[in-house]
Amino acid sequence: MNWLMAAFQTLLFAALAPLLAGWLKWCKCRLQNRKAPSLLQPYRDLFKLTNKQPVVAEQASWLFLIAPYIIFSATVLAATVVPLIAVDLPTSASADVIVMVGFFAFARFFLALAGLDIGTAFGGMGSSREMTISSLAEPAMLMAVFTLTMAASTTNLSIAISHVLNEGLVLRPSFVFALFALILVAIAETGRVPVDNPATHLELTMIHEAMILEYSGRHLALIEWASQLKLMLYGVLIANIFFPWGIAETFGAQALGFGLLAIMGKLALLAIFLAISETLVAKMRLFRVQEYLSFAYLLGLLGMLSHIILEASR
């Protein structure tokens, strides 16, 4: 039953990710005084791409061909670790949050290799920028995660979430710091404004898009889907770790239904905040990203320090 539940949750993850992307786009359009495309547009785009024949560069090696599958699978595996509508998942017990970060790094490694593989200037440029940013983002991410795991004395996400639920609504300075650190990292890791601009057509400014410029058809669909999944994963992490209320603690139909509604509501709200921030700020100069991510790291560090100083002694 538990394993079935874990599989169901992963399926939900994959199914809902395009909807979140559609909702985010809808919010952004409305904030820019534009008519918005349908919420289902990302599904249509994925469907359209899957039905198209992929065009592959002559210079591409096997690496370029398998990378989309690896990236997508690794992201789906990362999704299995994160409790979406219910806690107490067997997958969370076998793989903790560090494994999840590892899955992300694994996917990114292949994405960067694929960017380099075809030998175009843009691919290499994108890969180099992506690696620069991720090398700065990962320590910040881990620092935020460690703060949480120290508070809950576990790296298992299910247990950590239960811990927060049992504690009740307590304002912990360490959590506030970690929350902000994680938000900053999430924006950088999912390639959103102000770090990257997912909507741009300017090759020279791209980071994530530059690596996947040569992809088309089902390969592109998989990569797009994976990045939508990643966006949702970060959203769920933020929502469920810091505001876990509403998540199902038992596997009853009513509790699960309520859990689903709760997470959708939380994600919708997060997407609105993201859309507002993307409307308010311009993309930052590439060399500012290090300052931005150092700040995220600093927040994570402050979170950990405040945990040790203020909370751990009690």
């Binding site: 904030l31 534009r34 200037a121 440029m125 601009n197 020279l204 308010l280 311009a282």
Partner: protein, 527 residues
């Protein structure tokens, strides 16, 4: 330094004579034309640069079995056209590009189109010629057929020798000619270390349409239509410059009402393009909100144009001798109301733009063009004015209807992207005021002057301030009201080289916004 008259021409002529150059002054109704020997071509440029003359345009002409090579210089709003005649099957003359970097590409264009060899040229690689015609044929010579002899498929242009860089860690980024966005084709070759741009080389010419060749033999109306298509966003500017040149050659004065309507058209074009550009600059740093607002305002503006003038971009509204349509009382009221609305909407958006620190962070200090480099390349329009180049044809070499009033020329001195953004905003404000004044001055009258067939060989030089800056158009008539030579010099031709300089020391991802802040026309440059 500013002189209110053209007395510098007399002083300069003395100096030129003292240097041993014989200048033959040829009197033409509206052009100061000086003719010198071809061997003195470079020496003249050296004297001109000492005198701080600006090199404004260069072109050639194959006329009556001779090659006429011309260069146009300007100071304080007064122009002289320098001419030399070569009577030789393999013509050559000393280059001016060593003295005036602005002459570089123009001379390469002349070399490709006429087979005129500029000796001592610092960079005599081909420029306009890609692979569509062979090395030894020259499209603008008389014996070259209009339809040319193109191959079914133009071969790829593989052997152009770009500047190379060597050393550990340097790498090349080829960008274009086909871009991901819907923009014109042009190739940019970057040499970079990490993200830092060491060198940028432009390779243009992908939109060469043979405009100069297909202009030959046209009637004036037909040429005006062609001129309106030199660069789609500058259709009013180019059309006006061509008509002005033809009217000079035919010795026609256009009616005052026609001049005022032309002024309204040109200012409307300036406003539409500036709004589009300001939005695009914001979009290139992912500040999409502002772009959407500017795009909306521009769209409303264009719709009014479609309603009043019958064309969104105002194509073919200007015709030789006058304009193609009249303005009714209602049209004038509509335009004035629209101006009031636009002002209030713009001020709201600009406040949001001005207060946004993330935008400020991207636009200030990026893409710096120093006043010295701007002056050396003769940069025009908003690019020049954002780097302190105080020049505007509407004020300095005024023509109807601008000569009836004082035109304010806004300047910015910082030379960065923000300067080029805000100078556009100021120009919009000036243009809005001008339109209001022109509407007030409108009085009933003719819209078109009767056309007189110009004498064979008569010439005209149309100089107007298009929205990108000074446009210089040269026209010579043949017998029977037919065009013999048409050369439009778009301001982009002088602004493109400035881009290569202003991106230096910037990082690669900042190039698109640098480019957008300059926004040269590919089509206007390639002809």
């Amino acid at each position: 330094m500013k002189q209110s008259n053209s007395s510098w021409q007399a002083d300069f002529l003395e100096k030129v004579n003292a240097a041993g150059i014989t200048v033959e002054q040829i009197s033409l109704p509206s052009i100061t034309l000086w003719q010198i020997e071809s061997s003195r071509w470079q020496q003249f440029a050296e004297l001109a640069v000492q005198q701080n003359l600006r090199w404004a345009a260069g072109w050639a002409e194959h006329y009556q079995e001779q090659f006429f090579i011309k260069a146009c210089f300007e100071q304080n709003g007064f122009y002289i056209v320098l001419r030399t005649i070569i009577n030789d099957a393999s013509p050559e003359l000393p280059t001016q590009a060593t003295v005036y970097p602005a002459a570089n590409r123009s001379e390469r264009h002349t070399q490709d189109m006429f087979g005129i060899n500029f000796t001592g040229h610092p960079d005599n690689r081909r420029w306009t010629r890609h692979k569509a015609w062979s090395d030894h044929s020259f499209p603008l010579r008389r014996d070259f057929p209009v339809q040319g002899a193109p191959e079914a498929v133009t071969p790829p242009d593989m052997d152009y020798s770009f500047v190379k860089s060597h050393g550990a860690g340097t790498y090349e980024i080829p960008v274009g000619p086909v871009h991901a966005g819907i923009i014109e084709p042009g190739h940019f070759r970057f040499q970079a270390v990490g993200e830092l741009i060491l060198n940028l080389e432009e390779r243009l010419g992908y939109v060469h349409k043979g405009i100069e060749k297909i202009a030959e033999g046209r009637a004036p109306e037909s040429l005006a239509r062609l001129a309106g298509r030199v660069s789609g966003d500058t259709t009013v500017g180019h059309c006006w410059a061509a008509c002005m040149a033809m009217e000079q050659a035919a010795d026609i004065k256009i009616p005052p009402r026609a001049a005022l309507i032309r002024g309204i058209l040109a200012e409307r074009e300036r406003i539409a393009n500036h709004m589009g550009d300001m939005g695009a600059i914001c979009n290139d740093v992912a500040f999409v909100f502002a772009q959407m607002q500017f795009t909306r305002l521009r769209e409303l503006w264009l719709r009014t144009q479609a309603k009043i003038f019958g064309h969104r971009l105002l194509m073919d509204c200007i015709i030789p001798g006058g304009v193609n349509g009249d303005l009714s009382e209602d049209d004038c009221i509509l335009m004035k109301q629209e101006i009031i609305r636009l002002r209030s909407e713009l001020s709201e958006i600009l406040q949001a733009v001005d207060m946004n620190s993330s935008l400020e962070d991207r636009l200030y200090t990026a893409g710096y063009l120093s006043p010295d480099i701007a002056a050396a390349f003769g940069t025009l329009g908003y690019v020049g004015r954002a780097s302190g180049q105080d020049f505007d044809v509407r004020r300095d070499a005024s023509y109807a209807p601008y000569n009836q009033l004082t035109v304010k020329v806004p300047l910015e001195a910082q030379g960065d992207i923000a300067s080029r953004f805000w100078v556009r905003n100021k120009e919009i404000n000036v243009a809005l005021k001008l339109i209001e004044k022109f509407i007030d001055q409108l009085s009933p009258g003719n819209l078109i002057a009767d056309w007189k067939t110009p004498l064979p060989g008569s010439e005209g030089l149309g100089i107007v301030e298009g929205w990108r800056g000074e446009i210089i158009t040269y026209i010579r008539f043949d017998a029977d009201n037919k065009i013999s030579r048409f050369y439009p010099r778009d301001p982009s031709a002088l602004n493109w080289p400035a881009l290569e300089k202003l991106v230096l020391d910037n990082i690669v991802p900042d190039f698109p916004v640098c480019n957008k802040s300059l926004n040269g026309s590919y089509s206007g440059n390639d002809l």
